[in-house]
Symmetry: C2
Subunit: 329 residues, 2 copies
């Protein structure tokens, strides 16, 4: 069997997870890693696979079936997404929700011109959670969908805390509030404010001699990030930080409550919950399943930008239609 | 907007639920109900919609866009599925898991000949649970998927209890065992016997003077249905039966535990859980979402039998691609 040849753009947390994820997919092989850094400074895990400067990718359009975009959504992907859509089938986890329509249009234009399939915003949210939101809304239109994140580390919020004066290191955990989840399951169909859905807990290593009262105040009053939430700040030592807060766990749930029946006398709860000990690993695995779909769809002559809701699930699976009907349906 | 014209074959629990479900889908309208009984004996809820004998359906191929099959999987659908696939786009909840491959082949042949789209085995299991099993396996191939049913009423098992000598009425609840769910979430990846996954609880109204000890024994030792499970039997009065056991609640969960990372050091749990106060209502709502997909795919020139994993989720939604990208991704 000819394997699907995977390229990785960007070798951060997600890029490394994609590299390892390829090993779990027997129909895939890693062909190259592309970076904007000096390739000689990057050591990857896979033997006999080279690291290239990103400018070299354009010479490898015949050697790579799908490029997995592993850069950041803020500054990297808005440029690299459309650029690579003009050369390769791609998948990415573009997660700047408000910008998805514009990003889709930009990638779609290039993908159509190049005759490639580019699946954007894979991952878990956007990604798997998007799928569940759509399924739930389509099945129970007289209902309401809620998304909760956590318990897990928000990298954007952790970065924000680290920028506070006097902070040496920090991790921020987003924690969904049980009271809100209970209210949704009970059928209250509540309108929930950010403060009612999640709380934020920060573990902070302060610089020596820093004003901890000031740090706590600066965090809790930070607009957009913390001011709208109940935030807890705990100061810990570097040792404790290294020991207990070095991972990237995350997760969350999508909850849909809907009503049916002649007099809306029946109620139904759809719940999809993820508990992930490594956010980048899970994200990478989702991207690879959609990489398989991108490759197959393109083999069938399809082109253009797609989101996860445009992909028939069977395209994600290594298994044949017969196997799926026999063992999975 | 031209509405999708829905026909219903069979007016039992699911048929009635489909009738009501159409009202929640603004792009659909009910055109007719088809029955093997005398149509004059059937009173439906919707005004200005007729009940026809099932033999009349062949005259209405121009008036109906999608037929929703609401008969039984054991004896009705193996005949009616292929028959109607030769005339209409159809959806059904064929749930005889072992027979799905054969049923698919029979429906596919007729649907291809007639140029129709026929989506089989929609509902929640098979149906939504099938989708989750596929997604989970595709994302985390080094993992294991478990399906639990309940707490809810199994109609097949309730029927079996009612056939026991001395039983006047009965309902059987399938209940998943927390010990098994906990073991899966903990990462034991256990091999679970039927007895370790579920228990069965029967509420029985005995005939006057019946031998209750004999009834309990006959139930608990019944092969296929109860012998392989821990079964509890409770005798109750007709009044209590009518008061507390007249609904058709059901639900269940699909749990997938998988590992990632260089040394499999990371673990992830995917959980999809349904809590349904009316099993037929929820099933009907799933069928209607797939009816929308069947209609749209056929409009695009697609034909043949499909299962839920062959359908891109966006086809289920009344919303446009733009709306989905803006609000759901």
């Amino acid at each position: 069997m000819k394997k699907i040849r995977i390229g990785i753009i960007g070798y951060g947390n997600i890029g490394r997870s994609v590299e390892l994820g390829v090993r779990q997919n027997k129909d895939m092989e890693l062909v190259g890693v592309f970076t904007r850094r000096d390739p000689s400074t990057i050591k990857i895990i896979t033997k006999d696979v080279s690291v290239y400067h990103i400018d070299h990718a354009q010479n490898m359009t015949e050697q790579i079936d799908v490029m997995v975009q592993c850069g950041g959504s803020m500054s990297d992907m808005p440029v690299l997404g459309p650029l690579f859509a003009g050369m390769f089938n791609t998948v990415d986890g573009f997660d700047n929700h408000a910008k998805i329509p514009d990003y889709y249009d930009a990638v779609n234009k290039k993908a159509l011109e190049a005759g490639k399939v580019c699946i954007i915003s894979g991952g878990w949210d956007p990604g798997m959670f998007s799928l569940i939101r759509l399924y739930a809304d389509a099945i129970l239109p007289e209902g309401k969908t809620y998304t909760f994140w956590g318990k897990g580390i928000s990298q954007g919020h952790s970065d924000a805390v680290r920028r506070v004066k006097g902070v040496k290191n920090a991790k921020q955990y987003t924690i969904p509030l049980e009271s809100a989840i209970t209210a949704v399951k009970r059928g209250d169909m509540p309108e929930l404010t950010p403060r009612e859905k999640h709380k934020r807990v920060c573990y902070v290593v302060a610089e020596e001699g820093a004003d901890k009262i000031q740090i706590e105040h600066d965090i809790k009053t930070m607009p957009n990030y913390f001011a709208d939430y109940d935030t807890e700040v705990y100061f810990i030592t570097e040792e404790e930080f290294a020991k207990n807060h070095n991972g990237l766990p995350h997760g969350g749930l999508v909850l849909h409550y809907g009503k049916t029946g002649l007099n809306k006398e029946h109620n139904h709860t759809i719940e999809f919950k993820l508990d992930l000990s490594s956010n980048p690993d899970f994200t990478a695995h989702v991207l690879l399943a959609f990489a398989r779909a991108a490759y197959r769809l393109n083999q069938e002559g399809v082109s253009g930008a797609k989101t996860v809701v445009d992909i028939a699930p069977a395209y994600l699976s290594i298994r044949t239609g017969e196997e799926l009907r026999k063992y999975f349906i």
